[in-house]
Symmetry: C2
DNA sequence: CTGTTAGCGCCTTCAC
DNA sequence: GTGAAGGCGCTAACAG
């Protein structure tokens, strides 16, 4: 049994209230008393119970990190990890804890998202990897619980979002390729249940058209953000359009899949076919040739989400959308 | 304000006590009453407050995941992610929550590890990536708080561990290479502040000697588990020992670094130099050539750690060490 | 400045 | 079978 506020009060010869006040920095405590209490608390190694405090304040200072489809063997999550760091770092600075919530876990699917948060009295939630057609999406957005979603541009009275400027990012990529002289540029996109896919497609299209290059739907393949999907997309596009000299992928993982295909097909990168990815996961620098890509500021996305959420929870900020600018990172594949 | 047990009691026309009993499945409640209470609780969408419950039961059903050096831009953590899934999955099944604790975050370094856990009244802790010389190590092991450490073979009254059989794993790797006809096999190890490094070195050595190949210290390079370290180690070993036909790396990341060097040096893999890694992170399958490696059952390690910890907490199990057998995964680099 | 009183929401003896 | 009372550890009026 840890030492409680009573123990401190007793040892200091004052009431519990006074201890509480002294420790919480209230002004209305005699200076000598305060010092004594502080000293004694220190000596006794007193740690106030977050549980008891939560019960009375009705705040847990704990927020949930809700990850859809957090599961075994998914390398998708390499992308997510930096975001998690950003969230965790900023939350820790702000004095909040983070609890991991996985929507795929059986037990947690039994009760609704909101019920889960209610039971734990979470103060807020950050949600990632939600598909546009996931029923949870509405639940999150409409819920009275403050929330921030990553990469889905929806704002409600209690829900904000953080994302990258994906239109801009895609434009960066395509402009870069055009600048290198490419005119027939393929695009391997991710599935349409991710909001970012639509934006990246738009950026691709607009970049082409603003350079007088007509948009050709047949040069676009919709994959699924996996290595294998990227490989297949690249293969299909190249078979159908041998004249293609560059491919833009909506994620690094898909780009790496594309590189696999190109290597096996004996196509020289970037000489015969340039490749640009999206995300700048750590992998991009490790594969060879090193991948030219669009860097998303993932750590900052996480930190921003954390900040925004806490701002909302503490009533200092209104829910809003925040969009971070990605940047072009030129390496060896272009 | 969420609905409380009072609201349910009032609506059902019974006392709080009865509601509590009915909901917690006690036998001493009239069947009709129980049904009515259950129905009303359902209608009111009542969720018992985990906070209030924790205060009275003195258990939070929350365990901490303590990660040393969880920080921006570290790709080391690719290894950790699967372990985290394993932990999270099993804990969710067992009805426990997981909270993320980062020892590097400034605010959390201010107070000791134990204080942090005490404040939150955590029921237990799983610790990963602790260096042997980290002062936290003793604090964890000696602490009264139940804990499980990953990859450090220490057992105390309150602390168990989970690890892979690293000696065996290294033997698998080296035997495999010997079986392929290699006789001069280099070893790029990780830093000596990881317990696993010592075991992998021992396995390397014993495998050689049991095949009548003398152990030569000059064929061992101590790197640091990073890509760059692996690259450098590989380069140095090859320069000093051109006759070397295979290198075993104590991690996949280092092996990938080694592959970088070999490619640049124009050395054909595996014809002129075979490579075997350790871990089987997802990357191993993605790089090219695909990496032969020793698979650690990371998900199982996490699940095992979770299980063991809960067992200890609930008094069903004594702290112990559990060692999982890794396995050889032959791909293209050997 | 300090102490007394009331809970926060729930579980658990102990009576009835 | 059911209820009343007490308390988990802490904060927050309200008095003095």
């Amino acid at each position: 049994m840890p030492v409680t506020i009573r123990d401190v009060a007793r040892a200091a010869g004052v009431s519990i209230t006074t201890v509480s006040r002294a420790l919480n920095g209230h002004k209305d405590v005699g200076e000598k008393t305060r010092q004594r209490i502080l000293r004694i608390a220190e000596e006794l190694n007193y740690r106030p119970s977050a549980v008891a405090r939560s019960l009375v304040t009705q705040k847990t200072r704990t927020i949930g990190f809700l990850v859809s489809d957090l599961s075994k063997g998914r390398i998708w999550h390499y992308f997510m990890l930096q975001i998690l760091y950003g969230i965790q770092d900023r939350l820790a600075e702000l004095g909040y804890d983070l609890i991991l919530v996985n929507t795929t876990t059986t037990r947690q699917r039994e009760i609704s998202y909101l019920d889960f948060c209610t039971e734990r009295r979470l103060d807020g939630v950050i949600v990632i990897n939600l598909r546009l057609d996931d029923p949870y999406l509405h639940e999150v957005v409409e819920s009275p619980l403050p929330s921030v979603v990553i990469d889905i541009p929806l704002v409600s009275a209690t829900c904000g979002y953080v994302t990258s400027d994906n239109v801009y990012g895609a434009k960066l990529a395509v402009r870069h390729l055009i600048g290198k002289g490419h005119r027939t540029i393929g695009f391997v996109n991710g599935h349409s249940q991710a909001a970012v896919s639509h934006d990246r497609l738009r950026g691709y299209r607009e970049a082409l058209e603003s350079h007088g290059i007509p948009f050709r739907p047949e040069l676009v393949y919709e994959a699924d953000y996996t290595v294998e999907g990227g490989r297949k997309g690249c293969e299909l596009l190249r078979t159908a359009h041998p004249e293609m000299t560059a491919v833009f992928f909506a994620s690094d993982l898909m780009a790496i899949g594309g590189l696999h295909h190109l290597r096996e097909a004996g196509v020289k990168v970037p000489e015969e076919c340039a490749v640009v990815g999206f995300d700048d996961i750590e992998l991009a620098e490790i594969v060879s040739p090193q991948l030219t890509t669009i860097r998303q500021k993932r750590y900052e996305m996480g930190a921003t989400a954390a900040e925004m959420l806490v701002g909302m929870m503490e009533g200092k900020t209104m829910p809003e959308g925040r969009t971070l600018l990605p940047e072009l990172v030129v390496r060896q594949t272009s």
